[in-house]
């Protein structure tokens, strides 16, 4: 039995009980604020998922209003953030990780051993004995475990934000594709009309006895071929619309009613290429942050493990014994004999993991730098092509059309040449639209690779109603 006096023993027991009970679990409510902050930063626009009913209703009204007007890119991203169910699923999954964190605050349950001791000569009455022990390391490692769990939560948050960002960019890309497809369809409609009116004119010439069967057949073949191109453009437009519907999470009437403006917006390409984009990316890329958090977590674990590994062999507890009618309690120390495992393997494992994580971190950073250079060059090339189409090819084809018109005026060429020139101009427009669409996609790609909007790019002004939501959200947070 323990040599400690009863009073001492009781004091110690109380402290131990307090220690054992030290499991102040955090609120299990999902705190979205850090996620919203990260997402806002990555997207260069305020992002918030209000939970309060009034704010949600207001938001839904706002999204409805967005769908009623020709959709702009920011509106499309907003809708995707709130209505894309896959994204909402990921957001909800954050709750799972928060629960993990809550568990990590709790100590491992102590073990209770109970025994009846039968002493020789005693008739039939056993001496009950209880021992409540727990591993001391678990106790002292608690901060480390909490930190690890917090790291995991941070990583989970970062991963979630990455998913959010991917969804936002996917919506943005789908938006530009849909808008370009609509514009291309409009161009193809004109090209088809040009071929069709050429056929009609030739039919009239044929009716008047001025054109041969061969000439008529040639025009008809051209007109019918143009219809195939029109059908393909219409299909591409339908598909692009559906792709955007998926990204926006729209269905039913909502999926039918939205429109996009008829032409692609112009892309400001006047700014010189930004400097230090690689460094910018390294400070913004979320995957890099996750990798850093992971390495930090491992480093912390290693530190704790080294300091406290001796405790892993030590158990403390309470032992209670009823001797006769009296229960007597006393502390108990349990010592594991470190004969086979002295904890060195665990330290070595952590050290190796840390080293690996550091190399992974460096590899990630190097890869990011390369990705940034590639995306930046890609953007520059795409912008240059879009500009080339806009400033050179389209004007040249317009000059061809103008010159053809002048020759037509002087009866040097006929209506068919005029239509040919118009079709060539439309062909240039088609190329210009595709080049501009690709420039927008390249612009997105660079922002995606940077982990944040291009430095210097003005983030779009949040709509006035969003401020209201932010306030409601903040209030809600304070309340929680």
């Amino acid at each position: 039995m323990s040599p400690l006096s009863r009073s001492t023993s009781i004091g110690l027991v109380s402290a131990l009980l307090a220690l054992l009970a030290a499991c102040s679990a955090p609120s299990s409510r999902v705190d979205r604020e850090p996620v919203e902050a990260l997402a806002s930063n990555a997207l260069g626009r305020p992002v918030a998922w209000p939970e309060e009913r009034d704010a949600r209703v207001a938001l839904e009204r706002e999204l409805d209003a967005l769908l009623a007007e020709p959709l702009e890119v920011d509106g499309a991203v907003r809708i995707a953030l709130y209505r894309n169910e896959s994204l909402r699923a990921e957001l909800a999954r954050l709750g799972v990780d928060a629960a993990e964190l809550a568990r990590s605050h709790t100590l491992a349950n102590p073990s209770l051993s109970a025994s009846l001791r039968f002493e020789r000569g005693t008739e039939g009455v056993g001496v009950p004995e209880f021992a409540l022990t727990r591993n001391l390391l678990d106790l002292f490692m608690r901060p480390a475990r909490v930190e690890l769990a917090a790291d995991a939560l941070t990583r989970a948050r970062i991963e979630l934000v990455q998913t959010v960002v991917q969804h936002a960019f996917a919506a943005r890309d789908a938006y530009f594709r849909a808008r370009a497809a609509r514009h291309l369809l409009a161009v193809e409609t004109l090209a088809t009309e040009a071929a069709d009116v050429g056929f009609e004119l030739m039919r009239r010439l044929h009716d008047a006895g001025n054109a041969s069967e061969r000439e008529l057949a040639l025009e008809e073949a051209a007109a019918q071929n143009a219809r195939v191109a029109l059908s393909q453009a219409a299909e591409a437009s339908d598909a692009a619309r559906e792709a955007l519907n998926r990204e926006l999470g729209l269905w039913g009437a909502d999926a039918q009613r939205w429109t996009v403006p008829e032409t692609l917006p112009s892309l400001d390409d006047s700014a010189p290429p930004a400097a230090n984009l690689e460094a910018y990316a390294l400070t913004h890329r979320l995957d890099l942050r996750a990798a850093i958090a992971h390495a930090d977590g491992l480093a912390a674990s290693l530190g704790f493990e080294r300091r406290w590994s001796a405790l892993s062999f030590l158990g403390v507890g309470i032992v209670g014994e009823r001797d006769g009618g009296e229960w007597s309690f006393g502390p108990e120390i349990e010592l594991e004999l470190p004969i086979f495992d002295r904890g060195e393997a665990r330290v070595a494992e952590l050290r190796a993991e840390l080293e690996a994580s550091e190399h992974e971190l460096a590899a990630r950073a190097i890869a990011i730098r390369s990705e940034v250079r590639e995306a930046e060059r890609h953007r520059q090339h795409a912008l240059a092509r879009a500009r080339h189409f806009r400033e050179r090819i389209v004007p040249a084809q317009q000059r061809v059309l103008d010159a053809t018109q002048k020759e037509f005026n002087f009866m040097l060429v006929g209506a068919f040449e005029l239509l040919d020139a118009k079709r060539a101009e439309l062909e240039a427009s088609r190329g210009a639209i595709e080049a501009l669409r690709d420039a927008w996609l390249a612009d997105s790609e660079l922002a995606r690779v940077l982990g944040a909007p291009l430095p210097g790019a003005t983030p779009p002004e949040p709509p006035a109603t969003t401020d209201g939501h932010d306030d409601a959200h903040a209030e809600h947070d304070h309340g929680g």
């Binding site: 004119l201 009239r204 008047a208 005026n409």
Partner: protein, 430 residues
């Protein structure tokens, strides 16, 4: 194209050539006369007898100097800018700044020396078309003489044995040099005029290929010429041939193009009195109203201008009396472009695509002359038909001019449009 050798050669000879060039230029430009309207001094070989100097509408007569009894003419073959009509300037080749070059005029029996300076980028020669002369003066490069290299000046000298209407042109890279306008008329008056005239006009028709919107004749075109000039002008820039009623008129026509030109004179019957081979015996002449001027030939026609009025004179190939037109345009004659069924009219649909579209040529192309006045055409391109008369658009171009016969003439003043006596004009009856 300048090759290296050529370049070196030119540079080496620059001193001598430069001096000759400058002198030649000064001499020729100072002596050029305007339009040949001012009579030259009578032939020195026939003092006192005189001749009626030729008039080259829109052109000039080449002046000469007398050196030791030789009439010395100076020709400079060079790039020229020729305005075919307001709105179109052609980067041609010519002599002494003109295309066609100035008319050389002399008298049968004259000894002439013609100094030819080459200011072209390639060699040239001059052939005196139709003139009987020593073989070494005939000007066929490589056959009768070495070519005249750029920068060189060569002399041709001979006694003109025959009176008549002749021409001059290069016989070196002929196809290019003539396509670009190097040519001129060479008129030799007889010592004694058997059939004197009061007015003696010179017209050299030519066919050009200046693609719409361009400035330089295309020497590779062999058939599809699109501009047709009298003395380097298209109607309405062609100067009228002004004549007093009752005068005897001679018109000398040449042809160095690749197509014949049946020249038709309204209001008269005329005689073809000469070819570049000489005068035609009176008994052999046909009265005609159209004289076909074959390729590489000249024709003189003569008539008495006893009918006052504004009389058209033109090539009778109708595409020669118009300017450039597309030969591949769809034939819209009689085509119905109105709306059929539910669709808009073809015209409306075309206008929706190309706002400048306008249907032309359904009933004819006369409307074009009016349209062209307010619709822009390609740069440096003339409408296919133009010109306005007292009754509206003339719808002409190219080889068209007017012989203006008037009872009274004020020298140097355009007589304007003819005022027909009452009762002598067509009238509307329905």
């Amino acid at each position: 194209m300048l090759d290296r050798r050529h370049f070196l050669f030119s540079t080496g000879a620059a001193g001598a050539i430069g001096a000759a060039g400058v002198l030649g230029s000064a001499a020729t430009s100072a002596q050029a006369t305007d339009g040949g309207a001012a009579p030259l001094a009578p032939s020195l070989r026939r003092p006192g007898a005189g001749y009626v100097p030729v008039v080259t509408p829109n052109g000039s007569t080449l002046a000469w100097t007398l050196e030791d009894g030789v009439k010395v003419f100076r020709l400079s073959a060079e790039p020229v800018e020729r305005e075919f009509a307001p709105g179109m300037k052609v980067r041609a080749l010519g002599y002494n700044g003109e295309s066609p070059g100035p008319t050389i005029e002399c008298v049968q029996g004259d000894r002439v020396r013609i100094l030819v300076t080459n200011r072209l980028g390639e060699h040239t020669t001059v052939h005196w078309h139709g003139i009987r002369l020593p073989n070494g003066m005939d000007g066929v490069g490589g056959l009768n003489q070495p070519h005249i290299k750029p920068g060189e000046t060569w002399a041709y000298e001979f006694v003109v044995r025959d009176a008549g209407t002749f021409m001059y042109h290069p016989h070196a890279d002929e196809m290019v040099q003539m396509a670009l306008g190097l040519m001129g008329m060479f008129i030799v008056h007889p010592r004694e005029e058997d059939e004197p005239v009061d007015r003696d006009f010179v017209l050299l028709p030519h066919a050009w290929a200046v693609h719409p919107g361009t400035y330089r004749p295309d020497p590779s075109v062999m058939n599809d010429f699109n501009l047709f000039t009298f003395n380097g002008k298209v109607f309405p820039a062609t100067e009228p041939l002004v004549v007093r009623t009752g005068e005897r008129v001679r018109l000398r026509l040449g042809n160095l193009s690749m197509d014949s030109h049946p020249i038709h004179l309204h209001g008269y019957s005329f005689d073809v009195t000469a070819t570049d081979g000489g005068r035609i015996a009176k008994s052999a002449r046909w009265p005609q109203t159209t004289v076909n001027v074959p390729v590489g030939s000249t024709r003189d026609i003569e008539w008495t201008a006893d009918a006052p009025g504004d009389w058209a004179l033109h090539c009778h190939k109708s595409h020669h009396t118009m300017n450039a037109m597309g030969h591949g345009i769809p034939n819209l004659m009689g085509v119905d472009v109105s709306a059929q069924g539910a669709k808009r009219s073809v015209e409306e649909r075309l206008r929706a695509l190309v706002p400048g579209y306008m249907t032309m040529g359904i009933e004819g192309m006369a409307e074009h002359a009016v349209h062209a006045e307010h619709m822009p055409g390609p740069p440096n391109t003339l409408p296919m038909m133009a010109g306005r008369g007292p009754f509206g658009p003339l719808e002409m171009g190219g080889m068209f001019t007017v012989v203006k016969v008037r009872d009274e003439l004020v020298p140097g003043v355009d007589p304007g449009w003819y005022e027909r006596p009452p009762g002598t004009s067509a009238w509307r009856v329905g």
